[in-house]
């Protein structure tokens, strides 16, 4: 009977469906990247063929590098993402440790309070967040974005990390206590290294929405100085509606860093999802 589950037609069918969907998923991305290396005539004349010596042209990239201050936007995005990530991981791990390790009055309540933010999007508080940032003079600073993204990332980080910290052996921590280690040393030296895989998973989940966010940069930090790469690309694309070379080149430049990071970290990301870290 078990042969039925892996019969040849069934396997071919499965591959056919998966392959079709893979093509659908990758086609637009490849199409954009391939065409960004072509001349205008090549883009419109034969959009589906790879660049030939005749149609190969880097005019799009020259325009992008000449016009937009992409390097600067890129830097802003990097600063915001890395700083938010650092605070989410540090504060999140500390709070997760407190919730999973110590029994104190209101522990469950605190856990629920911090978990609220997993379901309720921070975006709904935008009106008051903007007022707060105006009042504290943080509008058009990267600090505003870092604060918002830290708050946005914390709930899920705490939720996932406390699940993992519950699995760290009590004997190990108690041995540390007997040896006279302070609670801080136990956390930083014993527990943190043990939950590193979970931290990596949280890092990936936190990073993608921050890097790709358009709403908060648009509202809290739209100035030239503080534009992130997502907002910069959006405005740039708006300006060059008719310059297809430049648009395709800008899109490719925006895709590539994320794509490279993804290929490097995909194993980690997928293991994180499939290990049931998100339930």
């Amino acid at each position: 009977m078990s042969t039925a589950t892996r019969s040849l037609p069934r396997t071919i069918g499965a591959h056919a469906i998966l392959l079709t969907y893979t093509v659908i998923a990758l086609f637009p991305v490849i199409l954009v990247i391939v065409n960004s290396f072509k001349s205008r005539a090549g883009i419109f004349g034969a959009p589906l063929t790879p660049p030939t010596p005749k149609t190969f042209d880097l005019i799009g990239y020259t325009t992008v590098f000449g016009q937009g201050d992409f390097f600067h936007y890129f830097q802003n995005s990097l600063v915001v993402t890395v700083a938010s990530l650092f605070f989410v991981l540090l504060f999140g791990a500390m709070a997760a440790f407190a919730l999973s390790e110590y029994r104190f009055r209101g522990n469950t309540l605190m856990g629920l309070y911090l978990a609220l933010g997993i379901m309720i999007p921070i975006r709904l508080g935008t009106v008051a967040i903007l007022q707060l940032m105006v009042a504290t003079g943080l509008v058009n600073t990267l600090t505003a974005l870092i604060l918002v993204y830290t708050a946005q990332g914390l709930p899920l980080a705490i939720f996932i990390l406390s699940e993992f910290m519950k699995q760290v052996s009590d004997d190990l921590k108690n041995a540390g206590r007997i040896d006279g280690l302070s609670e801080y040393t136990i956390f930083f030296r014993l527990v943190l290294p043990l939950v590193r895989p979970a931290m990596a998973t949280v890092a990936v989940f936190t990073m993608i929405p921050i890097w790709n966010d358009l709403w908060f940069p648009l509202i809290l930090a739209p100035s030239e100085e503080t534009k992130t790469v997502t907002l910069g690309a959006q405005l740039f694309l708006g300006q060059f509606v008719t310059n297809w070379n430049a648009i395709l080149a800008a899109l490719s430049l925006a895709i590539l860093p994320v794509l490279i990071l993804y290929v490097i970290f995909s194993r980690q990301l997928i293991r994180g999802i499939t290990s049931g870290a998100v339930k």
Binding site: M1, T5, R6, R10, A14, H15, I17, L18, Y21, T22, A25, L26, P28, V29, V32, I43, P47, L48, F91, M94, A95, A98, M110, G117, M119, I120, P121, I122, R123, L124, G125, T126, V127, A128, I129, L147, V148, T150, A151, L154, Y184, I208, W211, N212, D213, L214, W215, A233, L237, W244, I247, L251, A254, I255, L259, Y262, S266, I270, I273, T274
Partner: protein, 314 residues
Amino acid sequence: MDTETMAEETRPKRPIRWHVGVFLAPAVLVYTAIMILPLFGTLQLSLFRNIEQHQVFVGLGNFGTLFGDPNWSVNFWNALRNNVWFFIIHMLVQNPIGILLAALLSSPRLRFAAFYRTAIFVPTILSFVIVGFAWKLILSPIWGVAPHLMDFVGLKSFFTAWLGKEQYALTALSLVSVWQFVGIPMMLIYAALLSIPDEVIEAAECDGVTGMAQFWKIKLPLILPSIGIISILTFVGNFNAFDLIYTAQGALAGPNYSTDILGTFLYRAFFGFQLQVGDPNMGAAIATIMFLIILGGVCVYLFLVQTRLRRYQF
């Protein structure tokens, strides 16, 4: 004196554990100051109106305006209707495709599973700006990629400028969003399918339940809790969506507001557009409605769906 206080007295008095506070403080402070307080601040703002430079309490007046004043209500109901349609398309297209792909991926001894998994998840990591613009170019009649491709399968006559036509634009954009996010239900269902123990599957095979019947009768009931989770994630994500519509169609959600959803409506109300001045109080009122919709969805999920789903412990 009850036993509890007796115990308190006999137990040596414990020192205050400052470290618990130190561990909790940074996260709780940032989370409360930047997320919870602004959320309630927004709810509160929706009850006020700016009259001659003063915030005046108007109770539910702003909501009255939103639901009844034709200047607002036409757009509001339109955005709400569009948002519901946006959600329905995701539930009907994204989640079944995600489940199908996950079911195929999890079949035993499938070659290239890792490759398919990685490739199908690629759109999910891309930013809305890229996705919105790339599809705008592909569907554009100027470039002609879409009609060219449809010509291959003999459907060229069906092509039209989907993003430019009122009756198609919203559906087309919903499908673009489905294309982007199908990886999430796929991964979560895939994880759930992998966690089904082999013994259960073997037992089913012994009883002659294989192939499609096995999926419908054995696996599907076991992954129902995960389907519940992807449904509520889709719900929250859809009623909070903004970026894709904004990048593809602009803040005016054209053509003629046909792709307007609550997120873009909130943005316009808050910041103003063209001749209308931004109104933080009306923005807050719209955000409050979105909050109530999402909260309602989450409550339905937590109290009605989740408690009734049977969970199996292996």
